[in-house]
Structure formats: C-alpha cells, structure tokens
Amino acid sequence: MRSPILGLGARFLLPLFLISSLYILLRGHNAPGGGFIGGLIAALGFAILIFAEGTAAARRALKIEPRNLGGIGLLCALLAGFGAAPSGGAPFQGLWLALPVLPLSTVLLFDIGVYFAVLGGVLTLIFALEEGGDA
C-alpha cells in the first residue's frame, strides 16, 4: 500500500531522524544516549521510508550498501580498540585529544563505530525481510 501522505511525511521525517540520531550519538558520552540508540533512531528513519516508498527508494537515499556500513562500523570500533596500542596502553583504553572546545577521544570513535554497525546491521535485516530474500 502506498500512501502519499506517509511518503511525503517520510521525506521530511528522515532528515529529522538523522539529525536527532547524531545529537543522541554525540551527547551519549556524559548523558543518556550513545551509539546504539542513535543507530537505531537513524535506522528507524530509513525504516519509515521503506514502508512508505519501498526498498528501492530507501537504497537510493542511503547511497551505500548497508553491509558496507556495518563493516565501516566494525572497523571504527576495532580502530578505537587498537588506539592505545602505540603508546603502550591496554586494549580499548581511552585516549583523549584535549582540545579546548572539542574533547575528541577513541571512546567517541568506538561509539561512532557502534552507531554505524547498528545502522548497517538493522538495515541489512530490514532490507532482507522486505525484499523477501534470505534473512
């Protein structure tokens, strides 16, 4: 069933979902939020688009194969795990780049990895189910 209202709504909702997912991802370090829930919210935006306009439109909007997204996420998380290795730290030890306004860290990189892995994983599953192939 194609509903023009839902279709139009989804096109407006997707950017909103993506922005709020990024907000939740970034605030996650010191407040409730984080990569997992952020990734789920982003996946939700695409899920609405899939229900409204079908998988082809969603794939066009996503532009990148969801599995590759999952791979990028996994690599980011692993990279964060190895981040402390050159300076003799433990696996997954947090490294901080103390910039005055923007505290960057390997912890954030790990969270970004989780974000992409969740987004990629959930979308892979939804696409597989919607397209009727093997899950």
Partner: protein
Amino acid sequence: METLIALLAGALTTAGIWLMLSGHLLRFLFGLMLISNAVNLAIFTAGRLSMGRPPLLEPGGAPAPEMANALPQALLLTAIVIGFGLFAFALALTIRAFRAFGHLEVDRMRLAEPEPAEPELAGPELARPEKPAGAM
C-alpha cells in the same frame, strides 16, 4: 518496592511460560520475550531501587547516599541490546519458517526429524528407529 517488582517479574515469567507452552512458534517467541524482560527486571532490582536518584554524578559532585548501583543498569542495557539482536533474528527466522512450511505449529515441523511412520528408504539390513529419537 522490591517486592512489587519481584511479583511483576514472577507474573511476567508465568505469562511467558504459558505462552511458550502453546506450541505456536510466534507465541513461543513472545513468551520468551516476556521471560527475558522478567530477567531484566530481576537484574534491575539487584542494583537497588531508589526513586529519583539516577546513578549519574554532577560535575564535581559526590555520590548521593542510597544511590542506585550503576553496574546492574549497565549490564541490563547490554542484555537489552543483545536481547534485541536475538529477537530480531528469531523473528526473521520465524518469517522464513512460515514461508517454507506455511504454518508455525512447532509440532508439525518434522522435516529435520521425520516420523518413523513415514516411508524411509532404509534397507532391510538396517534397524529402523523405534521412536522419533530426539524429538522435542
């Protein structure tokens, strides 16, 4: 408060087991979800229940007395995330099973373990199983 949550966990488990005994795959999964929520509640209670005192510190602040333990909540969060993944996969498998068999009655899923009454191609020199061995 703890008693109330414990009773709630018990009620969820009861409902979950009742659903799991129905022999229908989807209901089984719903029952399992209820039970895993009951388990999550139990872990949550293990971390001390304290109304309105989240285990978060203000910058520079000292921990409040009787604050909830943060670790069970972290464990819980992990368990919810993992449960979500498992449940998503189990649902996907259920859809596939429905496409393959056309029904979700667990008792009728005998493809991997056929009933001995079905004509098997075993020759006379081989003993036939007396019972459906390992049937669930």
